[in-house]
Amino acid sequence: MALRVEGLSVRFEGTAVVDDVDLGLAAGSVLAVLGPSGCGKSTLLRTIAGLERPAAGRVLLEGRDLARVPTHRRGFALMFQDGQLFEHLDVAGNVGYPLRLRRRGRQERRRRVAELLDLVGLGGYDARLPTTLSGGERQRVALARALAVEPRLLLLDEPLSALDRGLRERLAADLHDILRAAGVTAVLVTHDQEEAFAVADTMAVMREGRLVQQGSLADVWAHPVDGWTARFLGYAEVLDGDRARTFRRLVAPDASWEAVALRRSALRLDPRGSLEATVEEARLTPELVRLRLDVDGLGVLPGVASPAAVVRAGERVRVSLDPARTAPLPGPA
């Protein structure tokens, strides 16, 4: 493990904003800490960076406790949502900043800056001032600056949140590739599950200061620990009680779980399907038709149909169920 966080708690004015958090991260991997606004993600990241003092717990890098190491000696790099470029320096000045701190020669600096700007797709932007850059370009510069001295750990605080959707998706893919190409170990915090999925290998879900789940992307996605986590990850519906038991009889009569989460596409319009339902509402979206279905025996549930299908509210239809798009929950809903 390159980075270990053990029992970390941070308090502001008496309240625990980060509460007994344990984390582990292998060298070269990217961890996404996912949680809603205000859950303490940024505080966790800042504490790892040494900008906040923990009330309890330790941060270890390669087994060494960092408690007495000030931020600037940790050899990390921190990148914020809005980049925090130095407005008085041009792009090359910003990217070269950590190199200058380390007294690298002018030649080397110039070479490395060019290399980094190429890496983030901004070759030739050296002399531009930050104020003349677009949001996406600013973030790329910030990323290049953070990567300049091969940080032992890269900390990213919602690096893409300030960007519009299309740009965010593109830059998330780029970020994924750039991080892999640079081979850095990184922690990314975000409230956007798509960003987490696009960039990270492993994921930790945070709620009100506590980590509720941690694991590989696929694992967390397939097996959310409870209803809250499932909803937060983008599951459309969580069933419990009688509805869950009815549902269990349909998909896994031998299992014993008491709650289940369904993705929107778990129920699909299908003439050969095994369930019958009444369409309550049908809404066309660019990729599919979103349905609200009153399923016999199960009640109102979301579903989908292909855009080619013609469905109207009030119609009786048959639907099929895809168990792979459901997730039984070990805990309560």
Partner: protein, 541 residues
């Protein structure tokens, strides 16, 4: 059509303050300068040039420059760490300390001069240092005044600076010192330059302090103009210096306007950190600065409570009298009442005119005419108050405008001095109102007056009150112009104080101390009230 009507309305509105400025500022100043250039009805520019070649004038210019530069430097050295402590850290009592720092700036210059002299006089607490009448003392007094300008100007910049930029640098490996040098100071530069230029301006045009402390040895341009007009009656030389000062100061103002940038809008209010032990040096420096700011005041209060070897309220009781050997024509209490009345009128005038100007210059669009208007009303900052006062005396004493015996003479002059500060206080607030709010109100059916009442006034009423208070405080302490215009039988408090310290006798000296304390307390009370109301910042601060 509507556009046309709008333009006419704007022009009419602008006419009022412009007429006032022309009549009560440009005309008197031109009259005073004209007298110097055209003695005995003949235009003699040669005489003016000859003045500039005098060795004494060179000495005065040199002293003005270096004392202002040293005062600015000292203000920065004391003020920058204090700005950090008071605007980037959070600790109990911080708000009170912020208020304390502002107090010296609003103190009447005469009071500051008196307080310093008291502190360093051979008999005073620091008498052993032998600073009495020295240039060091003058520089220290200049800095005493202006530390607050640095703390406030730079402090607001510092406060609105996103700390994450510095954190990003620290995470990239910058030591605290490197962060300061490569990130913090460059980001603060506009604030520092702006503070330094304003402080330099104030230091180089300081009047009361230099007059009370400089004695016969040190004079700056401002006090020299005063001496030339009142003692030596050399109007040509006074006019030459006035014009020179006007040119230099206008240049400085233009420069300051270039670099002045309002601090970036504050980001999401984050809680500031509490001090850690690493902040100890900054906190110590701040404490030292505060002690330096409070020492003269404490010593002033102490002196006001002492007569000879005895302690008591004797000096305060004496304020109801005319002093030893009838040093004054009226009791000090009466002068206080006069001061308050005058200040009330002056503040009202300055507020009325200043608000109109602020309203006009803060309209979006308008381009050059607006900028010009803005600049024109800053002029009183650049002209020696002494010139204004003397100008009043020589131009407004005969038809078409004979105000010699009018009780409005003093308040009008003071209003002119306070005008730029009022504009500076109100305009930024009006300017910060997003024009789309006005458009939204208009689209919902609000007429122009309704927009004004529902959008601008709610945004600006605090600033208006602050400006009124600020104008009041400035007028209370105004000495440069008033010293010419106040009649002996109806003086204001600063004039009385100056007269008292010029008279012999422990009783008169004690009275001057007590009167200074009263004046300082009054101004401070007004400013603290303003401080409570203040939305943004006050005036040039």
């Amino acid at each position: 059509m509507a556009r046309h009507r709008h333009a006419v309305a704007t022009a009419l509105l602008a006419a009022l303050p412009l007429a006032a400025l022309a009549l009560f500022f440009v005309y008197p100043v031109a009259g005073m300068v004209g007298r110097g250039f055209v003695p005995d009805g003949r235009f003699e520019p040669g005489a003016v040039l000859e003045v500039l070649a005098r060795p004494r004038v060179h000495r005065v210019l040199w002293f003005t420059l270096w004392s202002a530069a040293a005062g600015t430097l000292l203000s920065l050295v004391l003020g920058l760490p204090t700005a950090y402590a008071l605007h980037r850290l959070r600790f109990p009592g911080r708000d009170l300390l912020r208020a304390v720092v502002v107090v010296p700036f609003v103190l009447p210059t005469v009071v500051v001069g008196v307080a310093f002299r008291q502190l360093i006089a051979p008999s005073g607490p620091l008498g052993g240092l032998g600073l009495d009448g020295s240039a060091v003392a003058i520089v220290a007094a200049l800095a005493f005044f202006n530390v607050s300008v640095v703390v406030r100007t730079v402090g607001t910049f510092w406060e609105s600076m996103d700390p994450r930029r510095e954190e990003a640098a620290a995470a990239l490996g910058a030591t605290p010192w490197q962060v300061l040098r490569t990130v913090t100071l460059p980001a603060l530069r506009p604030g520092i330059v702006s503070a330094a230029s304003v402080v330099f301006l104030f230091c180089s045009t300081a009047f009361g302090v230099v007059l009370t402390m400089g004695g016969l040895r040190y004079a700056n341009v401002e006090t020299e103009i005063y001496l030339l007009t009142t003692q030596e009656l050399d109007l040509t030389a006074a006019a030459a210096l006035s014009v020179l000062q006007l040119l230099v100061v206008t240049g400085l103002l233009v420069l300051a306007a270039r670099v002045r940038r309002s601090p970036p809008a504050a980001r999401t209010a984050r809680l500031l950190p509490r001090p850690r032990w690493t902040h100890a040096p900054v906190l110590l420096w701040t404490a030292l600065t505060l002690v330096l700011l409070l020492a003269p005041l404490a010593s002033l209060v102490a002196a006001s409570l002492r007569r000879g070897e005895d302690w008591g309220l004797e000096n305060y009781r004496a304020l109801a009298t005319t002093g030893a050997d009838n040093a004054l024509l009226v009791p000090v209490t009466e002068a206080l009442v006069t001061s308050l009345e005058v200040a009330l009128v002056a503040a009202s005038l300055a507020l009325l005119l200043g608000t109109v100007v602020a309203y006009l210059v803060s309209r979006p669009g308008g381009g050059r005419p607006r900028q010009l208007l803005d600049g024109v009303f800053m002029l009183p900052l650049g002209v020696s108050a002494v010139t204004v006062g003397f100008g009043f005396l020589v131009t407004l004493d005969r038809p078409p405008l004979d105000l010699r015996s009018s009780s409005l003479l003093v308040p009008v002059a003071q209003a002119m001095v306070a005008l730029p500060l009022v504009v500076r206080t109100v305009a930024p607030v009006l300017r910060s109102v997003d024009d789309r709010q006005r458009q939204a109100a208009a689209s919902l059916g609000a007429g122009p007056l309704r927009v004004l009442a529902t959008v601008d006034v709610p945004a600006a009423w605090r600033a208006l009150l602050a400006a009124a208070g600020f104008g009041f405080a400035v007028s209370l302490g105004e000495f440069g112009a008033t010293s010419f215009l106040a009649r002996d039988d109806d003086p204001t408090l600063p004039v009385v104080i100056y007269r008292l310290i010029g008279r012999p006798g422990a009783e008169n000296f004690g009275m001057a101390m007590a009167a200074s304390v009263v004046l300082a307390a009054t101004t401070t009370a007004v400013m603290l009230a303003v401080q409570r109301l203040r939305g943004g910042s006050v005036g040039v601060l």
